[in-house]
């Protein structure tokens, strides 16, 4: 039962990704965010950090941000 509802939550989340990028800003730089469909994340280009979206919930806690490499690969933040 719980697993089914989690799957449903995930699907619902995908639809609202675009709206989120218009409203939210980076918690660190306060600059606009870009949605990255491939990695399911919100990217702050100003400081090169990406924040994940889990189950349709954007995780914009500063310490959850991953620093992006130059060529766009995500790597764990120190």
């Amino acid at each position: 039962m719980v697993r089914l509802s989690r799957v449903m939550l995930k699907e619902a989340g995908n639809a609202i990704d675009k709206t989120l990028s218009e409203i939210l800003v980076c918690p660190l730089s306060k600059q606009p965010l870009r949605v990255c469909e491939k990695t399911k994340s919100l990217v702050s280009d100003t400081i090169g950090v990406s924040f994940p979206i889990k189950d349709g919930i954007p995780c914009l806690v500063p310490k959850d941000g991953k620093i992006l490499e130059e060529d766009g690969d995500a790597s764990k933040a120190s």
């Binding site: 509802s5 449903m8 939550l9 409203i23 939210l24 918690p27 889990k54 919930i57 954007p58 806690v61």
Partner: protein, 286 residues
Amino acid sequence: MALRLLSRRTLGSRILSYRASLHSHATSFGFQQVKEEEKSKLVGNVFTNVASSYDIMNDVMSAGLHRLWKERLVGKLSPFAGMKHLDVAGGTGDVAFRIFDAVNSVKRRALRKVDEASLEETQIYVCDINPNMLNVGKQRAADRGLRDNKSLVWVEGDAEALSFDDNSMDGYTIAFGIRNVTHIEKALAEAYRVLKRGGRFLCLELSHVDIPVFKELYDLYSFQVIPNLGELIAGDRDSYQYLVESVRRFPPQERFAKMIGDAGFEKVEYENLVGGVVAIHSAIKL
């Protein structure tokens, strides 16, 4: 001459003690002393543990009164259709759902003849640092048939570093959340930043009781009954011990009101409920 020297000295010591007390909030986890960096992790653990029984425990601990307190909070907010509202530390959605209901019933009654497409959609953002609390909230939304409703947006974020633009919110509420924040002044500064001019700040929080006899009864209830309830119902005595200790460590009504004013807010007021067990602080960004 002597009088002026005396007042300058007390002012200096007052500033020092104010800064010391802010520092002491940042390094206190209930009655324990902890490193500043540790506090948010410890608080995070508490809420991860209590998330699934959070709502039931609230009902039991407050004998259902927390519902009335939240109704009062939302009443003071005076929600309107089309508003952009941010509910911080609102994980399980109690306040957000009440605001949603308030807006939608007013809207339905008043706007039968108005072209609804021309109105901007209401947006209620629920921000919480703990994903477990948010998941409980999202599940409750789904249970109410609001799973796909665009008005409710769930975001994981830190009250001290909000991911919302400056001057973007008509309202900001934080219910039973601010005492868990490591740096209260940062949370207040962020609240000030995201609110529009004319935006309302409302904080519902457990506070200090001064009434004799009642204070002793309340202390007895807090320290003898609540941790036992926590063990019985949530299977977690320690988290509820932290909860009651954190209430005692939080600044009293007047001092918290001063902190809100220091963040730039105007018309700072507070209302005690149940003799000060709970207080609603309100302010406006002008």
